[in-house]
């Protein structure tokens, strides 16, 4: 937002690009979970574009991004976050867009030293080189710490009006936002990608381990964002909704997965992932009964729906509180 605003203030035409990888935190989690409904229900990138008065293009990179996640040349950060490869990929896609739409250079909000992996002095040139953008990549917020780029050398941008931010503190950005009259902005600092989340990364690793291959589809990575993931044995996993919002979301997958729910419709909806036996389904029903409102009842009717077959009802005893071993939780 700040980098774009600095460009706009120099009279430069700016359009925004926002890449959808499938791992984005905002949007989906807010849409799914009831408990997030108090948050502003907006796409922050669109909101920023509107504030700045610029166009925003949202680009679906779900398929192309797989190679970044599965085979990052520079490895992962603390969890499964391939930040440096990710940055090079996105700037690379921006460079392709620039070429196709006859723009002149790319602007990012990167700052030297801001992030431990992808925004170090040593790695900023890597992004410029590996993306193909070269010196058409301008970082206005920290330009004075870097060699002049093509837009600066050509005089398209006044280098004297660029900045010298560095380090992890966000105070300079916050001060600049105030100076520019931007009194509301998206929360700075990370947290926008599920691949940086320890629990999400564990679930993705579990998926790969039990599929026998490191691969995924969009539905896979969406489902990892939702519910309790319980794996009683290899090849059999349950995704159990934790609240009404998640249950509504999981409803959309009932044509793809076997699903279970208390017959009166109250309590969680669960999806079954894997090839399962009747004993597995009985166990799944007992788990669902455990998380439903009738957990103290002696027997609970659970509707089991296998795609393409008539639903049937299993009468089961809910699992006891200690009936789900801790190691089953993914």
């Amino acid at each position: 937002m700040l980098a774009a605003k600095l460009m706009l203030d120099q009279g430069i035409e700016v359009e925004g690009l926002n890449f959808f990888t499938g791992f984005c935190v905002e949007g989906h989690t807010h849409a799914i979970r009831d408990r997030d409904r108090a948050r502003p229900r907006r796409n922050n990138a669109l909101w920023v574009a509107e504030r700045l008065g610029i166009k925003l293009h949202i680009v679906d990179v779900v398929d192309a991004y797989k190679q970044v996640v599965l085979n990052p040349r520079h490895g992962y950060g603390k969890h499964l976050n391939p930040c440096l490869d990710c940055k090079s990929f996105m700037v690379g896609r921006a460079y392709e867009w620039l070429c196709e739409h006859e723009f002149d250079f790319i602007v990012t909000g990167e700052v030297v030293g801001q992030r431990p992996k992808s925004q170090r002095r040593a790695t900023l040139p890597v992004v410029a080189r590996e993306s193909g953008a070269g010196d058409r990549l301008l970082r206005p917020l920290c330009a004075h710490h870097l060699e002049p780029t093509l837009p600066e050398r050509e005089g398209w941008v006044d280098r004297d009006r660029l900045l010298a931010f560095h380090g992890r503190s966000r105070k300079p950005q916050i001060a600049l936002a105030e100076e520019l009259g931007l009194d509301e902005y998206a929360q700075p600092a990370g947290g926008c990608c599920f691949l940086t989340n320890e629990h999400y990364a564990a679930k993705l690793r579990d998926l790969w381990a039990h599929r026998g291959q490191r691969d995924y589809e969009l539905d896979d990575i969406m489902l990892l964002k939702v519910g309790r993931h319980i794996r009683p044995r290899p090849g059999f996993k349950l995704v159990v909704g934790r609240e009404d919002g998640e249950n509504r979301f999981l409803q959309g997958y009932r044509r793809q997965f076997t699903s279970l729910q208390v017959s009166d419709g109250r309590g969680p909806l669960a999806l079954v992932d894997g090839v399962v036996t009747d004993d597995d389904l009985t166990l799944a029903a007992r788990v669902v009964a455990r998380f439903g409102p009738w957990r103290e009842a002696p027997r609970v009717p659970i509707e089991v729906a296998v795609p393409g077959q008539p639903a049937r009802v299993l009468e089961v005893e809910p699992l006891a509180a200690d009936g789900i071993p801790g190691e089953w939780y993914v």
Partner: protein, 87 residues
């Protein structure tokens, strides 16, 4: 809910089923469709993510398109968009 926008330019109506898609996918699908259309053409979107009620109008505003009408019935959202600007 009607936005009160003018509806005098009425062109072909295209149906976009974005049910089960979570934001920003409905916006991406709309963006892809609008890129193939000309000013005056209409898009009737059907969505299930309530976020579309915010994101689609915001996307239309920044690109100069017009949301003519929105409605939400039993968790299903319909949005009528008139193509005016560029994708």
């Amino acid at each position: 809910m009607s936005t009160g926008a003018s509806d005098e330019m009425v062109g072909p109506v295209h149906i976009l089923d974005a049910r089960r898609l979570l934001c920003p996918m409905p916006v991406i699908r709309l963006q892809q469709l609008v890129a193939t259309l000309t000013p005056g053409e209409l898009v009737d979107m059907v969505c299930s993510d309530p976020g579309a009620l915010h994101d689609v109008p915001a996307w239309c505003r920044v690109h100069g398109h017009v949301v003519l009408e929105t409605a939400e019935v039993a968790g299903e959202i319909t949005i009528r968009v008139r193509v005016d600007g560029t994708a």
